[in-house]
């Protein structure tokens, strides 16, 4: 080793020692975590994507928010109520400031609402019930709706309040449409939330720091000073980084690694029942199926055929074999945690291939038939494997399914509006406002020609009685009465075999053993609940 090299090494070594000493004295609590996705924009209105908005809501807040049990609680509004059936009145919290120090006012709320429904925002559809927003005085804002809107506050939890002055100063009064230049809000943030944006390297690293002026800090102290988020897509690398201590938390853990991660004493595994329901759907609207050997008629129009499909599926086997136990089987199209879920209805029709075969024979298909089957292969946990299991199970009652499992970008293009080019498919659904109405109106209400009603009812299921009931649920303000109506609607959907519900998947997060957090079934990760021991 020559002299200069030796000198260089010494120098580097002493620099490292000084640096470590420095790091030790500051003793800032840094929480490092990773996910396979990136919060692609810091603009809370630009993307309706669950991960992006979940991330951005550590910096931004809405008028209301979800607590660790997913109940609505006061955030920037302290109270809210219907002053008449079509008006929701929100009282704003005093003494809230944005990260840049400016105070929150009613003007900001009005501005944010306008921004959230303007082109470029992805939240407009969630706000479609609102006709007008009015400022009554400095602390009071009224939301006036077309008709009674019982779950408007649920939706408002997704609308972040931004600073009008800040957006105007940086010329970002609208979320970026892709026709424009890059918007300032894409890589900068100025919210009221518990964390502030410190550094943003898109797709690589995002650093947040604790907001020392957060309004709720007294009641809910924040344990961590700094948060470093890295995007790590390769699941094996993500797991390795957690095990080696480079990361404090990862989500999601791939199913095949759970067992092996669990055995490590330095690591803790969190099992979280997700609110998403997985199900199979069937084309019940066309007079002849697009992909089938049955010509001149549509077998799925016959309830007995739909029932046969239902009873041919051995959901217990799917849960234990395909999902390795990480799922709850379900009889309903909404799971526990969604408002309107009724445990008394949770009775699956039994797995019974013999009955299924008999039902098919009664319907005129004693030898079964052939049908195409659409499935994504990169959207849900084990999606393709579930579909393969379904293919095998249906083969036992003589139905030959031609599985087409493809990437979500292609899958959704095929099965979604306007074409609905599918005969039989698998899909998952999480109601955005965590209310059963959202599932009912999206998946079971009769499709309208302009795709506003029942847009995700890919199979075109239609039942006038149910439509009427959904209409009532949409405007019923009495929550007890409303839940009663929802139970009736869920019963109709179940007994009509409109869909074949499969399960709610359990997602798995993993942390170092010293981490405490609030696992939520919405895949929403709120950093304010994180504690490092």
């Amino acid at each position: 080793m020559n002299k200069r090299l030796r000198w260089g090494c010494k120098w580097a070594l002493s620099a490292m020692i000084v640096l470590t000493a420095f790091a030790a004295t500051v003793e800032a609590k840094t929480f490092r975590w990773a996910n396979d996705g990136d919060p692609t924009t810091m603009d809370p209105h630009a993307r309706g994507d669950v991960f992006v908005s979940s991330f951005d809501f550590n910096m931004y807040e809405g008028l209301v928010r979800r607590d660790r049990d997913l109940k609505l609680e006061a955030a920037l509004a302290t109270e809210w109520a219907n002053v008449n059936p079509t008006t929701w009145r929100f009282k704003l919290r005093h003494g809230v400031t944005f990260h840049d120090g400016s105070p929150l006012t009613g003007e900001d709320v009005l501005f944010s609402f306008q921004r959230a429904i303007a082109p470029g925002s992805d939240l407009a559809a969630q706000m479609s019930a609102v006709k007008e927003v009015k400022k009554i005085d400095d602390d009071t804002v009224d939301f006036i709706t077309d008709g009674p809107a019982p779950i408007l506050p649920n939706y408002l939890a997704n609308v972040a309040i931004m600073s009008k002055a800040w957006c105007e100063a940086h010329n970002t009064q609208r979320a970026a449409t892709l026709k424009d230049e890059e918007s300032y809000a894409t890589r900068n943030a100025n919210g009221t939330g518990p964390f502030m944006l410190k550094d943003r390297q898109p797709m690589v690293r995002t650093v947040l720091v604790k907001n020392p002026n957060w309004w709720h800090l007294k009641d809910q102290p924040i344990d961590i000073d700094e948060v470093v988020f890295s995007r790590v897509e390769n699941p094996a690398t993500r797991v390795a980084a957690l095990l080696s201590g480079d990361l404090d938390m990862i989500y999601n853990v791939p199913p095949q690694d759970i067992e092996h991660v669990e055995k490590n004493p330095a690591v803790k595994v969190w099992q979280i029942p997700e609110l998403r329901t997985m199900f199979l759907g069937m084309d019940q609207s066309r007079d002849e199926l697009l992909e089938s050997n049955v010509k001149g008629k549509n077998p799925f129009k016959d309830k007995r055929v739909r029932r046969a499909f239902y009873q041919a599926i051995d959901e217990d086997a799917i849960v234990s074999k395909v999902m390795r136990g990480f799922a709850h089987k379900t009889a309903l199209m909404v799971g526990p945690g969604v408002n309107g879920y009724d445990a008394t209805l949770e009775k699956r029709f039994p797995y019974d291939p013999a009955t299924a075969k008999k039902l098919l024979a009664e319907a005129g298909y004693p030898d079964g038939f052939e049908v195409g089957f659409d499935c994504p292969n990169d959207r849900y946990v084990n999606d393709e494997a579930i579909c393969q299991a379904v293919v095998a199970m249906l083969a036992k009652i003589g139905v030959k399914t031609n599985l087409l499992a493809q990437t979500k970008a292609k899958y959704f293009t095929k099965i979604n509006a306007p074409g609905y080019q599918t005969s039989f498919y698998m899909l998952g659904w999480t109601p955005t406002p965590l209310d059963a109405l959202h599932m009912l109106s999206n998946l079971t209400q009769t499709r309208s020609a302009d795709f506003r009603v029942g847009p995700w009812n890919e199979g075109g299921y239609s039942n006038p009685d149910l439509d009427e009931l959904i209409g009532k649920i949409a405007v019923e303000l009495d929550s007890e009465k409303r839940n009663e109506l929802i139970s009736q609607a869920l019963t109709i959907v179940r007994d009509d075999f409109a869909y074949v519900p499969l399960h709610q998947q359990i997602v798995v997060w993993a942390t170092r053993a010293n981490v405490e957090l609030a696992p939520l079934g919405t895949n929403d990760f709120q950093l304010r609940y994180v504690k490092l021991k």
């Binding site: 692609t40 994507d49 992805d122 892709l178 918007s183 390297q201 201590g245 493809q406 970008a409």
Partner: protein, 339 residues
Amino acid sequence: MLAFIIQRLFQSVLVMLTVALIAFALFNYVGDPINNMVGQDTTQADRERLRQDLGLNAPFVVQFARFVGHAVQGNFGLSYQQARPVGQIILEKMPATLELSFMAAFLALLLGVPMGIYTGLHRSSWGSQALLAISLVGVSLPTFLIGILLILIFAVLLGWLPSFGRGAVVHIGWWTTGFLTAEGWRAIILPAITLALFQMTLIMRLVRAEMIEVLRTDYIKFARARGLSNRAVNFGHALKNTLVPVITITGLQLGSIIAFAVITETVFQWPGMGLMFIQAVSFADIPVMAAYLVLVGFFFVIINLKSPPPARCLRVPCRGRGGHGSPTAICGGAFAARR
């Protein structure tokens, strides 16, 4: 020479246009990006408007012409995924890929050439057999497996090196470098080895084969007959002749190192262009994919454009040696026989 360069440049433009055309034809198969860009509640009308805004409804030819027209002006549009200019994204990612690729190429040369010489000179020694056997691993194991194995050993079990990322970087103008921080050096070790392994094996085997062949020539026999030392013959005469194809191949391989960095970058979450491309594919982010493919095409073109000169320079000293008594004709003959 000028005519040669102009001809090459013309070919280059053709190559890149072809790459862009093929890339565009392929984009019809990646699916519709709209679904990745909006939430489940976005109405059909809004989806349609977005599709219209992005020009996705236009026929293939129009989309392609629009892309080429903008690309000529250096404008690759906005990324669907990040809503930021593609050119800016690529400039951000390029330093990471180039540093990794050059590091890997450097490692491959640094280790591959001596190993090749050694195995060429001591063909049947125990050491050569061992190196050759180990190098088989380098060619036969897939890159992602080697990467994961290295992570398992050096990050998880030993805890010496970071498992992912590029560590701390220093900004020098628009360039970012990891070579100025200890963390950056620690981070580049595993991915550089992973990426270098295949090239190292290739170079080693190439040098070995060339050495063996050159050592057989009359030229070397004459050199020995003149009573030159082993060292002078092996390194002064034999190695120098060996290096011509090695330099050419290494130069050409640099293109594939950059292109194949995709897998290494994915395994180590190395924030370079390869990872960017994979992310773009899974999102159906057409502007990013198109720009990347054209850029890689451009790299290959540049490398092929530049490759011959250094190789030519190397031949000169060989001929120059003629003055010292080694017969030039034989030297040239050796080339003729091998090329």
